[in-house]
Symmetry: C2
Subunit: 206 residues, 2 copies
DNA sequence: TGTACATCAGTGAACGCGCGTTCACTGATGTAC
DNA sequence: TGTACATCAGTGAACGCGCGTTCACTGATGTAC
């Protein structure tokens, strides 16, 4: 029997609202989404929203928290191939990031849009970038240790890599593909980014 | 004497509104700017706005038209160093783009924000990118002609370059610099991008 | 196990704030004669 | 050159739409005895 207790029912509705929000965000963008769009998509009344979230911002925070818990972000942080003088290490990072972005595209898109309008989310996004950056510093030291020369000082080299991967992922995974362009397969995208970044960092080919 | 005719006065007000809009856009972002913010910044009454523009969107279109007329965009399109197997040609392009972005930062920022919310502006931005891309195709053919191998197929190689330069410029020229980071000088930025892109495209150093 | 009352998730119409947009009015510039 | 009227840029208070948010109500679940 589906003897749903009150708590279960509330949790169901909350989950339905979140899932609906992700779908609507993907379809119309976070900024264009009205609260009633979300409740309608979830098949609930408008008022129901406020039993679970105080605002659209809070819902997004909740989605971001889920994203942190989902684990593949952890994979980016834990031990892994870290010697960027080895193309395989670069590819590993690129692939991780690509997968992460692919998995969480609607939420990342929403965060990006929210950050344009809301300082708190801008800071969230900045700190997300910063945590990636500090991870990469160690990896890039292997490059200079191996006698190769970075394209610019450490900070700028990291920023370039991050911006490149991030905006490239956004271009192909979030926005509709430009008319007449053939989107890359996942493998192709990872390979293209890996080659570009490895070359850019080391000045060598592989 | 400042015997301002009606037309002159109207033109002055329109120019004042545009200048005010650029300042306010730079300060709070396009999406966060209200029409009364613009009129207040320009020192005019709210109703005055509608003597000149039907909406905030139309004002932005007007700013974009000015940008096209300002001429440095033309420099990107006209004849120039075009053999990307030569680092100087890459640097020339990077520098052009950097200057363009620097000059027109508030308008570009506004366009970017408008594109998130408005399909028409999304298309404007896409076609802006596409026009850059078609220009670059010829330049990259020199790379393969010189026996070097692009990091990915033509389209993707161009997209990576464009995304990298665009997002890097946005990071340092528009957004407030991340806490604790030292922004690059113009020369440093151009040099960093040039080296990264040249390496990425050709697999060689210089 | 049954009854009476309390609590709570969900509902949707109504409310009200913020802001885009209008419009009657003012004072100055242009035009006709 | 002067006078009377027309036109227009600019003004700012008022209007009204859209949408976030509230709240009295419903029906179902939980609790007390």
């Amino acid at each position: 029997m589906t003897a749903t207790s009150r708590k279960e029912k509330a949790a169901e509705t909350e989950a339905a609202l979140k899932a609906a929000a992700r779908r609507v965000f993907a379809r119309k963008g976070y900024l264009n989404t009205k609260i009633t769009d979300i409740t309608a998509e979830a098949g609930r009344a408008a008022g129901s929203f406020y039993n679970h979230f105080a605002s659209k911002e809070e819902l997004l925070e909740s989605l971001l928290a889920d994203l942190g818990a989902s684990g593949d972000e952890a994979a980016l942080a834990e031990d892994h191939l870290s010697d960027f003088s080895d193309p395989a290490a670069v590819r590993y990072h690129v692939a991780m990031y690509w997968e992460f972005y692919k998995e969480h595209a609607p939420t990342m898109q929403a965060l990006r849009q929210a950050a344009m309008v809301n300082d708190a989310f801008a800071r969230t996004m900045a700190s997300f970038g910063a945590s990636q950056a500090s991870d990469l510093t160690g990896h890039l030291e292997h490059v200079t240790a191996a006698g190769m020369r970075l394209p610019a000082r450490m900070e700028l080299s990291i920023a370039m890599m991050f911006q490149l991967i991030d905006s490239f992922a956004q271009m192909w995974l979030l926005d509709p593909a430009p008319a007449g362009w053939t989107p890359p397969t996942d493998e192709e995208a990872v390979e293209a980014l890996t080659r570009f970044v490895y070359r850019g960092f080391t000045g060598r080919d592989y």
